[in-house]
Symmetry: C2
Amino acid sequence: MSDAQPEPTLDRPAVLERKGAFADRDAWIASGWCRLESALEVVGTRSAMVLVREVFYGATRFDELVRRTGLSEAVASGRLKDLVGHGLLERRPYREPGARTRDEYVLTDLGSRLFPVVVGLMAWGEDLRDDHHSGVQLVHRDCGAALEATVRCTAGHDVPLDEGAVRLKDEDWARGAVRRA
Amino acid sequence: MSDAQPEPTLDRPAVLERKGAFADRDAWIASGWCRLESALEVVGTRSAMVLVREVFYGATRFDELVRRTGLSEAVASGRLKDLVGHGLLERRPYREPGARTRDEYVLTDLGSRLFPVVVGLMAWGEDLRDDHHSGVQLVHRDCGAALEATVRCTAGHDVPLDEGAVRLKDEDWARGAVRRA
DNA sequence: CCCCTGACTTCTGACAACCCAAGTCAGGGT
DNA sequence: ACCCTGACTTGGGTTGTCAGAAGTCAGGGG
């Protein structure tokens, strides 16, 4: 069986269509190019994701984050430093009268842009389970309907998996990179 | 500073609004309820995600998956078994004339529903990097525009972070669960 | 029977993630 | 100066993930 582009049929599930030079997928195996892996290096740990989750739920203080995530203080501290360093969170000093200066952790724009990922993972996690009573649900504040992550293109079209494609970002650049390697 | 619902202001980034009994977030700290963590238990490893990625790009055969992910055979084999066991992939025997029976790995419906997560992580990973030449881009097959993951409610509204909320899925059930613990 | 080949299993070792416990550091107040 | 408190650091231990290497298993063909 050659690596032809798989055709969706009743028993062949859809996948992305490979376009341009990427149709020959095996010609483009390079380390360090994958944005998925870049993302996972930053948020690919349970501790990062549960901290991000709690910040999305409104926690800002270290003690809240530790309590609500169940992480140890050592892990929370280290991971928060990491997330701040990567630009997902920002650390801001604040002070209540009569108390010491403390820091709160707030989302940056980059951190906020993880929202669809968090929504998507939570919706997907729901699919995994038989139990539909425990836990929380993300909803639309005004209408109450459940949230889900969807895929769209920058031109505004809804794009299901079978209408998606994958291509090299910059074919000329990639050809040069392969030549230089 | 009390854990009031944070109000979005110019310098206070948006977060989800906590609704109903979940407004008191600290009252609902329980292990095992979180769908995000359920999801991460299945796909929260680099090996799982890069395998899923390659299946989305059209790979089906073991040797393709090993080569394109760069994973060791041992890791790929174990992780594929895991993904099949969790229902993301299905293993199907096929046979070319004159060759032995082999298995291909194809997406199940559950696996396909990771599409927005993969798109979201890749888009987010792009935000992380300075380099916009290397790697691939996910695009809309017909119009060529880049894909992104967005959040919408099941009623069809687009829901940015500041219009999202989080509530207990089943307040009565949750009250009972806390009482029983 | 043997051979080939693809997939899997086993083993070793390195590293990362995370828990727990103890201790240190630093910002304020008195 | 001391004290309190919140956040961080350090150390030890466990577990999981993964690479690399070697070996085994299993499906076919001759």
